[in-house]
């Protein structure tokens, strides 16, 4: 029983990270109808920036805030400089650009910081939390940070003018333009926020998986799985899906003997395929009907 509880809690903790990645993926998908395959590498690069700042002597939370801010600006810049010119290009062109972005960020990080695995400090310390061994302080902190960020995003989108403008721009770009909304900038803002959310996810997961240029590879896959489970059209669904994938992954790894550690990653793929077969629009997603 204790093992079961332990696995659920650990699943919630990593699930929170998947939820962040899934959310970042969905935010961009909503704005431009494309999956950003470079989302994971963007988060990885941000995490390296945070590591560098800490190496230079910055306290963790200062480095954290600075990294989130820098990632936001970088996300806006990527949209403005790289994606804006190909806004009307075919989907395949955009896909190639995403893959190029992935490769550039990956090898760029390797070039600057090399491929050696680095430890990344946890701001929540180690040891036991309140004298129990069910959940580690870092896992608990990770869950708290994730939930806090999700709450902030929810408040932003529900209760601010810019949040409403961003939702309008994503839902109906043409009509949004007719209301005077600068849709192009809303999309850039969405990229900035997705980059910032990804940066938080990277900095939270790095103490667990260690820091190296390929650290986000499997996490992005789980994030995609989470987004698909929840429905690519629903931010709330993406969050729910992320948590669900985290728990399923942990339980399967523990209780299905064949799976073990080695086959854990294939769970993500199995989930994606199962959802696409049974309910392609995901748990909370809406089926998209296109008129032809």
């Amino acid at each position: 029983m204790e093992l079961f509880l332990h696995q659920i809690l650990a699943g919630l903790a990593t699930g929170g990270i998947y939820a962040c990645v899934a959310l970042a993926v969905v935010m961009i998908y909503q704005a431009i109808d494309q999956l950003n395959f470079a989302q994971g590498e963007m988060a990885m690069f941000s995490t390296f920036v945070a590591w560098q700042l800490i190496q230079w002597g910055a306290p963790f939370w200062i480095a954290f805030v600075a990294t989130v801010a820098l990632s936001f600006l970088a996300g806006v810049a990527i949209e403005r400089i790289v994606l804006r010119p190909i806004r009307d290009a075919p989907a395949l062109t955009q896909l190639v650009v995403f893959i190029a972005l992935l490769a550039i960020l990956n090898s760029g990080a390797g070039f600057i910081w090399d491929y050696q695995i680095k430890t990344f400090p946890s701001p929540f310390g180690s040891g036991e939390l309140f004298g129990q061994s069910l959940i580690s302080p870092h896992d608990a902190g990770m869950i708290a940070v994730t939930l806090m960020m999700l709450a902030l995003l929810y408040l932003f989108f529900r209760h601010t003018r810019i949040g409403l403008a961003m939702r309008a721009a994503a839902a109906n770009p043409e009509s949004a333009r007719l209301a005077g909304i600068r849709v192009g900038w809303m999309i850039a803002l969405g990229w900035g926020m997705a980059a910032a959310v990804g940066a938080v996810a990277g900095m939270m997961i790095a103490p667990v998986v260690f820091l190296e240029p390929n650290m986000m590879e499997s996490i992005l896959l789980y994030g995609f799985a989470g987004a698909v489970v929840g429905g690519l059209s629903s931010p709330a669904g993406a969050v729910l899906g992320g948590f669900a994938v985290g728990i399923i992954e942990n339980l399967a790894g523990t209780y299905i003997p064949v799976v073990g550690r080695e086959l854990k990653l294939s769970i993500a793929l199995a989930i994606i395929i199962a959802v696409l077969v049974v309910k392609p629009s995901g748990l909370l997603g809406r089926a998209v009907v296109t008129r032809v």
Partner: protein
């Protein structure tokens, strides 16, 4: 009266295909002008040209400003509200949020709240449904919401693209009488595109008739309505 909006030699293009051929139009300040024509004549294209949504050539002046080549958002911010064909509803947002989107360029909280109430006074049905997802409204209600959203901009000019489309005759009558009231009491000038020539000519004081992207006639609405040949050949009633 002076012209609030004026075009000279307005041409529009979809890719290499030319859709408008040198239109000269004028919308008088405070008046309602209607643009009539058959399917495919270029009515919607004309409205989209004015809002910078298609590639154009020629001159477009609004209150002395040149609009040609400006991005849609900037044109809208000058005070032109476009009620698009298909109503442009934000279907997953609530009625209230739809109205808030209409006022997104404004910063005067109190004025916005006043205007929301004003919209509800004109369209009481929207108030009853203010927390409902806009996509669940009936066609008539969505058209009212589209007009309401346009009102939230406090526009000087409203461009209306076939507001009667797909609505029951009774709803059309109700909607057009409200448009008339809006024009008189809120001093909103209007450019109305319609297939339903009969009701449009009743509301408007000036009319243009276009065919395959060219102007075929212009004049006071009453005169167009009184000309039997035009009615028979172009307007079909």
């Amino acid at each position: 009266m002076t012209a609030l909006l004026e075009t000279r030699g307005l041409c529009a293009f979809y890719g290499d295909t030319q859709a408008l051929f040198g239109l000269d139009l004028a919308v008088e300040e405070g008046g309602i002008t209607t643009l009539l024509g058959a399917n495919g004549a270029g009515k919607t294209t004309t409205l989209r040209s004015l809002c910078g949504m298609v590639r154009t050539r020629g001159e477009i002046r609004f209150d002395g400003w040149s609009l040609a080549g400006q991005p849609t958002e900037s044109i809208v911010r000058r005070g032109i509200a476009h009620v698009p064909q298909g109503r442009g509803t934000f279907s997953r947002q609530t009625v209230e949020e739809n109205l808030a989107i209409g006022a997104i360029t404004r910063h005067d909280r109190a004025g916005i709240a006043d205007d929301v109430n004003r919209v509800y006074r004109y369209f009481p049905r929207l108030k009853e449904r203010c927390h409902q997802q806009a996509g669940t409204l009936s066609g008539g209600e969505q058209q009212m919401l589209a007009v309401g959203r346009a009102m939230m901009l406090r526009p000087r000019l409203m461009l209306l693209d076939e507001p009667s489309f797909g609505l029951a005759p009774k709803i059309v009558e109700e909607l057009f009488s409200i448009l008339g009231t809006l024009n008189r009491t809120e001093s909103v000038s209007m450019l109305l595109v319609e297939q339903n020539a009969e009701i449009a000519l009743e509301l408007a004081d000036h009319a243009y008739l276009i065919e395959t992207g060219r102007l075929v006639m212009a004049g006071p609405a009453a005169q167009v309505r009184g000309n039997e040949n035009i009615r028979k050949f172009y307007l079909g009633y």
